[in-house]
């Protein structure tokens, strides 16, 4: 039921945060960011879920009385959030490509010119 | 409006800057002892400053060794007008025991006009105080002349040979400071 979704999403967020905080390789940090994004997307989608509801589309002939829809608004929000996740990943990948070229390494402990 | 007071105040608050041109520190100790409670030059307004910019009376001690000529001249240049130069002890005047040595670059006379010369190998503090007081008076006259020439130091007429001989011989140890800055009417 819906509690599993919520628990899974918070677990995904925690896992993503752990991955971002501990992993040294930049790509893995990016994956951690992705995990956080998926966790939040899952949370936003499952907020609108209502057991027994069907997809909110008025398709001819398939709708019989007593049927009800699932909440369409969180699905729209998730759409936006997914595209945001994609764009963030694209941007960070671009940065990682150039950092690998410039610093010659992907290890985050070596990329620390700005400190102190 | 304040000019007369300023001239008078020149005498009342002469600030001293001490240049050690290679001296054996005998005169330096004496000069500093002048500021101690026993001789207390401060009651006449004397005050030892750290930079030539704030100095009125430049006290030079030591036989102007070769190393210190350059620095002496530069520091003397950096002292604002009206100023007096006081040579402390007999080293700056004649080189004292070091006269004729390869290492010293001659009496202070060669580099600047000495207003008051306090003689003696380590002159007594009283002598120094008397010399400084005399320099303070010279300061006041210089300031008055300076005002006459539009704020510039009175430019010397070509030094007449007369003045050259007229300089008295050097005094002995005690307070026989000799005024050397003869009054000269500038013809600017």
């Amino acid at each position: 039921m819906i509690l599993v979704n919520y628990a899974a999403s918070f677990f995904l967020i925690a896992l993503g945060l752990y991955c971002m905080a501990v992993k040294k390789n930049l790509i893995k940090i990016l994956i951690g960011m992705g995990l956080c994004d998926y966790g939040t997307n899952l949370l936003v989608v499952s907020v609108g879920f209502n057991p027994g509801g069907t997809a909110p589309i008025f398709t001819a002939g398939e709708i019989h009385p007593g049927m009800f829809f699932v909440d369409p608004v969180p699905q729209a929000l998730t759409l936006t959030s997914i595209v945001i996740g994609a764009c963030t990943t694209a941007m960070v990948l671009g940065l990682i490509i150039r950092i690998k070229a410039k610093y010659g390494t992907l290890d985050s402990t070596e990329i620390r010119r700005l400190r102190g | 409006m304040f000019q007369k007071w300023i001239d008078k105040s020149m005498r009342k608050s002469p600030w001293i800057y001490h240049i050690n041109a290679g001296s054996c520190n005998g005169c330096d100790i004496e000069l500093v002892s002048v500021l101690t409670p026993r001789y207390d030059a401060e009651r006449f307004g004397f005050h030892l400053t750290g930079t030539p910019r704030q100095a009125d009376i430049v006290v030079v001690s030591g036989p102007i060794t070769m190393q210190s000529v350059d620095r002496l001249i530069r520091t003397l240049a950096q002292v604002p007008e009206p100023k007096c130069v006081v040579s402390l002890g007999s080293c700056p005047r004649s080189g004292n025991v070091f006269k004729g040595s390869f290492a010293i670059a001659g009496p202070l006379e060669k580099y600047t006009h000495v207003d008051v010369s306090v003689g003696g190998c380590t002159p007594k503090p009283e002598a120094i105080v008397a010399g400084l007081a005399k320099a303070a008076e010279i300061l006041e006259e210089k300031r008055r002349e300076m005002r006459k020439h539009g704020g510039m130091a009175p430019s010397p007429a070509v030094a007449a040979a007369v003045e050259h001989e007229e300089r008295a011989e050097f005094g002995t140890g005690d307070a026989t400071a000799v005024r050397q800055g003869a009054e000269q009417e500038a013809d600017a």
Binding site: I111, L114 | G151
Partner: protein
């Protein structure tokens, strides 16, 4: 085109400008600059046009996208809500955008692929304006994302500048924690209140308070403080500002942080209306005070000009958050006033840093020095900015800081809670440390001795200085006329923030024309300080002093005139001696040539061969003063030795590794969540 469409037109004009530049930017430079100039000035004019109705008239503009008016209590469409608070921040955004756009025309002309730069810049400004004017919670999240995305891309714009990519990566990665927490907060709120419109949430929240909404408050607060770079996130700001181009640093420090502040004000004052609970007030003020103090001490021993400015901008944002967290009318208006001042003087300082970078190519405090003679106008502008940030009286920093101290002290007096007195002391102390670091910057960049390699630096072109002058004049105006600014701009904004009912009624009530009615009698009692009458007093006294000076002394001539008089009076440029005794003798110089110049006695003067008159050289205890600049690291030795353990800890703490910064972010998230669950 009535006044209702102004907000959306302002936002869309920026975005449309961005796309037009993307399309036609590559064709020719002039067209591109024209588009950017138009796209930057239109929103400024629209916002200024809105001042009359919204600020003074007290009207709240509720503008529903696509005419989707709310059905009963439920707002189905997205609404733009422009009340005095939003317009205040809108003005701050548009001024900063206008000045930064003007500045980047010449500042960036040496870079390549500028159409990308201008597209990103205009989208950044559009998203900032969109964020400030919107009335929908999810729309704020979308605008935050555009803002972060474009700010990161712009930070990394100068790809080959040392550290640019690293700064951008850190900003993006740790910024994503903030974005994630904002979205989680929105999802939790939606699950409880079934709506996304802020006015409706504000109306429904008081009777839906439970664990989920408290959790949502914690998540949203942390999300907005990430965007405002508060305490655990301030290393991001330092890295991002230090490497971004100066016009972008202005935008990041001046405006993006203000949007974080705007979010926190909306959250605590309008949505949850729980600012008066002691727990929330202590949380926000605590965050503000800690970030204020730590960033000032961190800024103390930086040796990069822009990184120092970055840390200062976070400490000033710390001031603003401290004032906002107090919750009283005086506190909020002090915070808003300081937010506006900060954008003005921090923008000016960043543009000065850009000018120094443009002219000399270096930002290293250790190697710059003596630029005042080469770049006098930039130095004058820098002094105005530095005086404003350190809060010297006639400038604008002073009045807002003074209000902050009064507000925090009064809150301490009323609630009897010693915490606010500690906050007041911390703020006063940070003000002195700010002054100290700007004295350090002035000494190591503008005054002191010029390095030989910067011998031929020239003043930056006029087109760069105009935006700086605009900011400088604004700094002085807001400093000298504080009471008008309070009545016209800050007062209504603070009143709008405090009057949540007006916000709700303005949006969900009878639509646009509702108007929040007369402002709540906005009584704000501040000790009387009339800078104008104080300046007249200064004038009188200075006239008296000048009179005495003119009468008293002989006139002072400049060194050149003195040389002139010497030459005319027959004395060569060497130093003059009076009553020189033995004239005419040629001295026998000692043999070693280089050791000391052989003084030649000619006529009445002793001249050095080819030597400049040492009289006007700096006194260097007799030596010839070669290069010996006192600046950069070797200032404030006494303070640093006493606090060396603290500074070493700070250096170790700001390690520069991304993982550490994410770890601090996570710990902060956990702390805020725990705090919210326990105390709210």
């Amino acid at each position: 085109m009535n006044m209702e469409h102004y907000p959306i037109l302002a936002i869309i004009s920026l975005f449309l400008g961005a796309f037009l530049v993307a399309l036609f930017g590559r064709l020719n430079k002039v067209l591109r600059n024209l588009i950017v100039a138009a796209a930057v000035t239109i929103p400024l004019c629209l916002m200024i046009a809105l001042i009359a109705p919204v600020m003074i008239g007290g009207q709240v503009i509720g503008y529903w996208m696509g005419n989707w008016a709310p059905v009963g209590p439920w707002a189905i469409g997205i609404g733009l809500e422009v009340d005095a608070l939003s317009l205040f921040f809108g003005l701050v955004v548009t001024i900063a955008v206008f000045v930064s756009g003007l500045y980047s025309f010449t500042y960036m002309n040496r870079d390549d692929s500028l159409e990308n730069y201008y597209t990103l810049f205009l989208m950044l400004s559009g998203s900032l304006l969109g964020l400030v004017l919107t009335g929908d919670l999810f729309n704020i999240f979308v605008m935050i994302e555009i803002m972060t995305m474009t700010a990161v891309a712009l930070t990394a714009f100068r790809v080959d500048y040392e550290g640019a990519l690293e700064g951008a990566l850190k900003y993006m990665v740790v910024g994503s924690i903030g974005s994630t927490s904002v979205l989680v907060g929105i999802a939790m709120l939606y699950s409880q209140l079934h709506t996304l419109n802020m006015a409706q949430i504000a109306a429904a929240l008081p009777d839906h308070q439970n664990l989920v909404t408290v959790g949502a408050f914690a998540f949203l607060f942390l999300g907005f403080s990430t965007k405002a770079f508060l305490f655990p996130f301030h290393p991001l700001a330092a890295d991002a500002h230090a490497v971004a181009p100066a016009s972008i640093s202005l935008m990041i420090s001046g405006v993006i942080t203000k949007c974080g502040v705007y979010g926190i004000i909306r959250l605590a004052y309008i949505l949850y209306q729980n600012i008066n609970e002691p727990a929330v007030s202590i949380l926000i003020t605590g965050f503000g005070a800690v970030s204020c103090f730590i960033c000032v001490t961190m800024a103390f021993n930086q040796h990069d000009f822009k990184r120092l400015l970055a840390f200062h901008s976070i400490s000033q944002v710390g001031y603003v958050i401290t004032a906002v967290g107090l919750g009283t009318a005086l506190g909020l208006s002090a915070g808003l006033y300081h937010a506006m001042n900060h954008t003005l003087f921090k923008g000016l300082l960043f543009l000065c840093a850009g000018a120094v970078q443009y002219a000399t190519g270096s930002l290293d405090l250790g190697r710059l020095g003596g630029l005042a003679k080469k770049m006098p106008k930039t130095c004058a502008l820098f002094l105005i900015g530095a005086a404003s940030i350190s809060g010297l009286p006639p400038f604008n920093g002073f009045f807002s800081k003074w209000m902050i101290y009064q507000a925090s002290f009064e809150k301490g007096l009323d609630t009897g809670n010693f915490f606010y007195i500690v906050v007041c002391v911390v703020c006063l102390l940070s003000s002195v440390l700010t002054l100290a670091s700007f004295v350090k910057v002035a000494q190591s960049v503008f005054f002191g001795q010029l390095q030989p390699q910067f011998e031929n630096t020239k003043e930056v072109p006029l087109t760069m200085r105009i935006p700086m002058w605009i900011l400088a004049v604004l700094c002085i105006l807001t400093g000298v006329l504080p009471w008008e600014v309070l009545q016209k701009l800050v007062g209504p904004a603070a009143a709008a923030a405090l009057n949540a009912a007006g916000y709700i009624q303005g949006m969900l009530g009878s639509g646009a024309a509702a108007g929040a009615g007369a402002q709540a009698a906005f009584s704000m009692e501040i000790g009387f300080w009339g800078p104008v009458s104080w300046l007249c007093l200064l004038l009188i006294v200075s006239c008296a002093v000048c009179l005495v000076a003119v009468l008293g002394t002989a006139e002072q001539k400049s060194p050149e005139e003195r040389h002139e008089m010497d030459r005319r009076a027959g004395r060569t440029a060497a130093f003059t001696r009076d009553g020189f005794a033995d004239a005419g003798r040629i001295l026998k110089p000692a043999e070693k040539e280089g050791h000391y110049r052989n003084p030649v006695l000619s006529g009445t003067t002793l001249t050095f061969t080819g030597e400049k008159d040492p009289k006007y050289e700096n006194f260097f205890s007799g030596e010839e003063s070669e290069y010996s600049q006192v600046g950069g690291g070797d200032l404030f030795w006494g303070f640093k030795t006493n606090w060396r353990h603290y500074f070493q800890g700070m250096r170790r703490w700001h390690s520069g590794v991304i993982n550490d910064y994410t770890r601090y972010g996570i710990v902060a998230l956990a702390f805020v969540l725990l705090y919210a669950c326990l105390f709210l």
